[in-house]
C-alpha cells in the first residue's frame, strides 16, 4: 500500500488524462513547439499549453528523481520518444523510425500517448510536475536536475555484467529472459515494417511520375488517331493517379496503426528492460550489503545491519511495484496490439475496397472507349 494518502489531497491531476491531445506542432527554424490540450475535471473548459521537447525532458527528469516514493525504481516509466530534429540526419531518422515519418503527426501521437500514460499511472500522476506541465501557461523551468538516479550513463558505467546476474525469484528470472527475446523481435519487426512502408511510399511517387509522363504524350491535333491515343494517355494517367492514391492510403494506414503500435511496443519493452536492470542492480547491492553485514567487525556491525535492513526494505518495495507493473504492462500490451491490429485490418480492408471500386470504374471506362 502506498502511503501517499497524505499527498493525494495536494497532488491530484485536475484534467481528464484520457482527453490529453497534442493537437499541433509549430515549426520555427529548428525549434518544434507542441500544443497540448486537455479537458478540465471541473468541466469548465480546456487547458491549452505549448511545450518544447526540453519541457518534456524536464517532466521526465522530475518523474525519475522523485523522492519518498517507495519502490519507484520498480516503475516501468512510459517511454519518451527520442529528440526530434528538423531536417534530420540519416542517423536520427533511423532512430526515430516511424516517428520520423509524415510531417511529425506520428511523433505528436507518440508524445500524446506518453502524456496519457503518465497521467494514467497511479504513482506518477501524483507528482505535481505533471499538473504543472499540463496546466501552467508559462513553460516549466528548464534547469537540469543534478541528482538523477536513472541517468543512463551511470547505468552503463555500472556494468552490463549485472544484466546477466542470476536472479533469486522465479517470476523475475522468467520475465527477464522473456523480455530480452521479445524486445529483440519487436524491434526487428518494427524495423522491417518501416522498410515496407518506405517502399510503399516510393511506389506512390513512381506512379505519380508515370502519370505525369503520360500527360506529356498528349498530342494536339484533329487527327482522329491522335485524339484517340491522347485520350488513352489521359485515361491511363488517371489510372496511375488512382494507384498512387491507393498506395499512399495503404502506407498511411500502416503508419498510423500497426507502425505506431510496433514502435510503442518496442519502446515500452525497452522501458521494462531498464526497470528490470535497475532491480537487478538493487539485488546486487542487497547481496553486497548482506555480505558486508555478515563479515563486519563488531564495531561496524550495527551500521552494516542498518544498511542491510534498508536495502532489504527497498528491494522488497521495488519487487512489489515491479510485479504489478509487469502484470499491467503485459495486459496493456496485448490490448494495445489487438486494438491496433483490428484498426489496421479495418482500414486496409476499407482501402482495398475503395481501390477495387476505383479500378473497376476505370476498367469499365476503358472497355466502353472501344
Amino acid at each position: 500500500m502506498m502511503q501517499e494518502e497524505a499527498n493525494e489531497a495536494t497532488s491530484v491531476l485536475s484534467v481528464y488524462g484520457h482527453t490529453i491531445k497534442v493537437t499541433e506542432v509549430l515549426q520555427d527554424g529548428d525549434t518544434l513547439t507542441f500544443i497540448i490540450v486537455s479537458q478540465k475535471l471541473s468541466g469548465t473548459g480546456e487547458y491549452h499549453v505549448d511545450r518544447t521537447y526540453e519541457d518534456f525532458e524536464w517532466l521526465q527528469q522530475h518523474l525519475y528523481a522523485q523522492e519518498d516514493v517507495p519502490g519507484l525504481q520498480g516503475v516501468i516509466f512510459p517511454p519518451l520518444p527520442v529528440r526530434p530534429q528538423v531536417n534530420a540526419s540519416a542517423k536520427v531518422m533511423k532512430q526515430l523510425g516511424f516517428l520520423g515519418l509524415g510531417e511529425w503527426q506520428p511523433y505528436c501521437k507518440a508524445l500524446e500517448t506518453f502524456l496519457r500514460q503518465v497521467a494514467a499511472h497511479s504513482i506518477l500522476r501524483k507528482n505535481k510536475t505533471v499538473e504543472v506541465f499540463l496546466t501552467s501557461t508559462d513553460p516549466p523551468g528548464r534547469q537540469k536536475l543534478r541528482r538523477n538516479i536513472f541517468n543512463r550513463l551511470s547505468q552503463a558505467v555500472e556494468g552490463l555484467w549485472k544484466e546477466g546476474h542470476k536472479d533469486v525469484d522465479e517470476f523475475f528470472h522468467t520475465e527477464r529472459d522473456h523480455n530480452l527475446v521479445l524486445t529483440g523481435h519487436t524491434r526487428t519487426a518494427a524495423e522491417k515494417f518501416l522498410d515496407v512502408v518506405l517502399t510503399e511510399q516510393k511506389i506512390a511517387v513512381a506512379c505519380g511520375h508515370f502519370a505525369a509522363a503520360l500527360h506529356i504524350c498528349v498530342e494536339n491535333g484533329e487527327d482522329p488517331e491522335k485524339k484517340a491515343f491522347s485520350r488513352v494517355c489521359v485515361k491511363l494517367s488517371e489510372v496511375f493517379d488512382s494507384i498512387k492514391k491507393n498506395m499512399t492510403s495503404i502506407a498511411v494506414n500502416d503508419m498510423n496503426t500497426l507502425g505506431l503500435a510496433l514502435d510503442l511496443d518496442s519502446r515500452y519493452l525497452e522501458a521494462e528492460k531498464e526497470m528490470l536492470f535497475r532491480r537487478t542492480c538493487k539485488l546486487v547491492e542487497l547481496e553486497n550489503a548482506r555480505k558486508n553485514a555478515e563479515r563486519a567487525k563488531p564495531v561496524k556491525k550495527n551500521a552494516m545491519e542498518e544498511v542491510k535492513k534498508a536495502a532489504e526494505g527497498e528491494f522488497e518495495q521495488i519487487c512489489k511495484v515491479a510485479k504489478q507493473e509487469i502484470v499491467q504492462l503485459n495486459q496493456e500490451r496485448v490490448e494495445m496490439l489487438q486494438k491496433n491490429l483490428i484498426q489496421w485490418c479495418e482500414q486496409q480492408l476499407q482501402t482495398a475496397k475503395e481501390g477495387a471500386d476505383a479500378y473497376n470504374q476505370h476498367l469499365q471506362a476503358f472497355i466502353a472507349m472501344a
Binding site: H178, V181, L182, H185, T186, T188, A189, E191, K192, F193, D195, V196, T199, E200, K202, I203, A206, C207, H209, F210, A213, L214, I216, C217, E219, D223, E225, K226, A228, F229, V232, K235, L236, V239, I243, N330, V334, E335, L337, Q338, L341, I342, W344, C345, E346, Q348, L349, A352, K353, G355, A356, Y359, N360, H362, L363, F366, I367, M369, A370
Partner: protein
C-alpha cells in the same frame, strides 16, 4: 550463342524473292556494311557480334537495357492467371504456355483470322552450344495456309532470320517491318550454363512473350502476312539455317539503315519537303521516341520498387512470425502468426503485380520504342528514294547537255551512245519518280495503320492491366476479411 550452331539444319541460305517486288539492296553507301554480308557463308566471329551487340552508339541501346541486369535478389515467380487475357484461353499458366490474341479485320475476301502462340521453351543441347527452341502454333481459317491447325519448332535465330529477310524486301519501299526482339548475351549465357534461377526464368518468359508479340505484329500486316518467307516460317517443318548472325540482328539492320540515312543528311542537298504531312509526321515521331523512352524508364523504376516491396514484405512476414512465436499470450501469438501468413500472401500478390507491370507495360513500351526506330527508318528510306530520283535527274541533265554539245561534233557513234544513255536515264528518272510517289503513298498508309494499331495495342494492354489490378484488390479484400476475426479474437 544459339544462332551460331549449324549442326542440325542445312547450311544453305535461301533467297526468296517477293512476287511483285524486286529485291534492292538497302545499303548504297560506303558507310553501311557491304551488301555481300547478307549472303555470306563465312564463319561468324563471335566477338564481332558481341561488339555489335553492346556498342554504345546504337540507337537501340535503351532497348537493350530492358533485357539487362534486374535486381537479381528478388524471387520472381512466373506470372500466374492474374494476367491471363480475358479472351478465351485454354491455358492458365502463362509460363509454359502463352496468350492468344484474336483480331478481326476485313482484308479483301479472306477476313483476318489467325491465332498465334509461341510456347514450350525447351533447352536443346548443353553448355555454350545450347539454345532454346520454341513451339510456334498457328490456328487459322484463312485460305493462305495449307492447314488449319499446325505447329513448328523454331529457335531465336530463325525469328531474326525472318526479320532480316522481310527488312531487306520491304523496308526500302516504305513498309514498317516490325523489329524482332533483341539478342541478349547475358540472358542467353545464363540459360546455356544451366542456371535455373528466377532471373533466367524471367528472361526466358520475357523472350517467349516478345517473340509472340513480334510474330503477331508481323502477321497483322496485310502485306507481310502474304509473304512466302512468313508462310514458310509458320508452316515449314524445317527451316534453312540463317547463317550470318551479324546481319540478322534487327538492331544491326536498323543501324545500317539509319547510318545510311545519316549519310544522306550530311549531304548539302536538302530535300524539298513539299509535303507538309511528312514534315509534321517526322517531327511527331521524333517526339514520340523521346516520350516513350521516358515512359519506359518510368515503368522500369516502378517495377523495381514493386520487387523491392515484395522482398520487404517477405522479411516483415518472417519477423512477425518470430514475434508470434515468442509471445506468451496465446491469442496474440496466434494473431501474429496469422499476420505473418497474411503478409506472405500479400507478398505473393506484390510479385504478381510487379510481373503485370513488367510484362504488360514495360514490354509494350519497349516494343514501341523499337517500332518507332523502324518507322523513322522508313522515313529515311523515302529520303533516299528521293535522293536517288534527284541524282538520276541531275545525271540526265548532264547527259542532255553533253549530247547537245556532241551535236556540233562529227562523232555519230558517240552521239548515238549519248542518245541511248539519255533514253535509259529518262526511264530511270521516271522510275525514280514513280518509286518516290509509291513509297510516299505506302508510308502514309503504313503510318495510318501504325497509329490505329497503337491505339488498339495500348487499349488492350491497359484493359489487361486493369483486370489484374481489380483481381489483386479483390484478393486483398479476401485476405483482410479473413484476418479481421483473428485480430478481434485476441483478448
Amino acid at each position: 550463342m544459339d544462332d551460331l550452331q549449324m549442326k542440325q539444319l542445312p547450311r544453305c541460305l535461301e533467297r526468296t524473292e517477293p512476287a511483285s517486288l524486286s529485291a534492292v539492296d538497302i545499303s548504297t553507301n560506303s558507310n553501311g556494311p557491304k551488301q555481300d554480308s547478307f549472303f555470306d557463308d563465312d564463319n561468324e566471329d563471335l566477338f564481332a557480334e558481341a561488339t555489335e551487340e553492346v556498342s554504345l552508339d546504337s540507337p537501340e541501346r535503351d532497348v537493350l537495357l530492358s533485357d539487362g541486369p534486374s535486381p537479381a535478389i528478388t524471387p520472381i515467380t512466373p506470372p500466374t492467371s492474374v494476367i491471363t487475357p480475358r479472351i478465351g484461353n485454354t491455358h492458365d499458366d502463362m509460363f509454359t504456355h502463352s496468350s492468344f490474341d484474336e483480331v478481326e479485320e476485313e482484308e479483301g475476301g479472306d477476313s483476318f483470322d489467325i491465332h498465334l502462340s509461341v510456347s514450350d521453351p525447351e533447352k536443346i543441347g548443353d553448355g555454350m552450344n545450347a539454345y532454346m527452341a520454341y513451339k510456334v502454333t498457328t490456328k487459322t481459317s484463312m485460305s493462305l495456309f495449307k492447314q488449319r491447325d499446325f505447329s513448328v519448332k523454331r529457335r531465336f535465330s530463325d525469328f531474326l532470320g525472318l526479320h532480316s529477310k522481310l527488312a531487306s524486301k520491304y523496308l526500302h519501299i516504305g513498309y514498317i517491318v516490325p523489329p524482332a526482339p533483341e539478342k541478349s548475351i547475358v540472358g542467353m549465357t545464363k540459360v546455356k550454363v544451366g542456371k535455373e534461377d528466377q532471373s533466367s526464368n524471367e528472361f526466358v518468359e520475357k523472350r517467349r512473350s516478345a517473340l509472340e508479340r513480334y510474330l503477331m505484329r508481323t502477321v497483322k500486316h496485310p502485306i507481310l502476312l502474304k509473304d512466302p518467307d512468313v508462310l514458310q516460317f509458320l508452316e515449314s517443318s524445317e527451316l534453312p539455317r540463317a547463317v550470318n548472325t551479324q546481319a540478322l540482328s534487327s538492331a544491326g539492320i536498323l543501324r545500317m539503315v539509319n547510318k545510311a540515312a545519316d549519310a544522306v543528311n550530311k549531304m548539302t542537298i536538302k530535300m524539298n519537303e513539299s509535303d507538309a504531312w511528312f514534315e509534321e509526321k517526322q517531327q511527331h515521331f521524333e517526339n514520340l521516341d523521346i516520350q516513350l523512352k521516358k515512359l519506359h524508364a518510368s515503368v522500369e523504376s516502378l517495377v523495381c520498387h514493386r520487387k523491392e516491396l515484395s522482398v520487404n514484405t517477405a522479411q516483415f512476414a518472417k519477423s512477425a512470425a518470430m514475434l508470434g512465436n515468442s509471445e506468451d499470450h496465446t491469442a496474440l501469438s496466434r494473431a501474429l502468426s496469422q499476420l505473418a501468413e497474411v503478409e506472405e500472401k500479400i507478398d505473393q500478390l506484390h510479385q504478381d503485380q510487379a510481373n503485370a507491370d513488367l510484362y504488360l507495360f514495360s514490354e509494350l513500351l519497349g516494343d514501341y520504342v523499337r517500332l518507332i526506330s523502324a518507322v523513322k527508318g522508313v522515313f529515311d528510306q523515302r529520303m533516299k528514294t528521293w535522293q536517288k530520283w534527284q541524282d538520276s535527274q541531275m545525271l540526265l541533265q548532264k547527259k542532255r547537255e553533253a549530247e547537245a554539245k556532241l551535236q556540233f561534233t562529227n562523232k555519230p557513234d558517240k552521239l548515238q551512245q549519248a542518245k541511248d544513255e539519255i533514253k535509259e536515264l529518262e526511264g530511270k528518272v521516271q522510275q525514280g519518280e514513280r518509286d518516290f510517289e509509291q513509297i510516299s503513298k505506302t508510308i502514309r498508309k503504313e503510318v495510318s495503320r501504325f497509329e490505329k494499331e497503337r491505339v488498339k495495342d495500348f487499349k488492350m494492354i491497359i484493359v489487361k492491366y486493369l483486370e489484374s489490378l481489380v483481381q489483386t484488390q479483390q484478393q486483398l479484400i479476401k485476405y483482410w476479411e479473413a484476418f479481421l476475426p483473428e485480430a478481434k479474437a485476441i483478448s
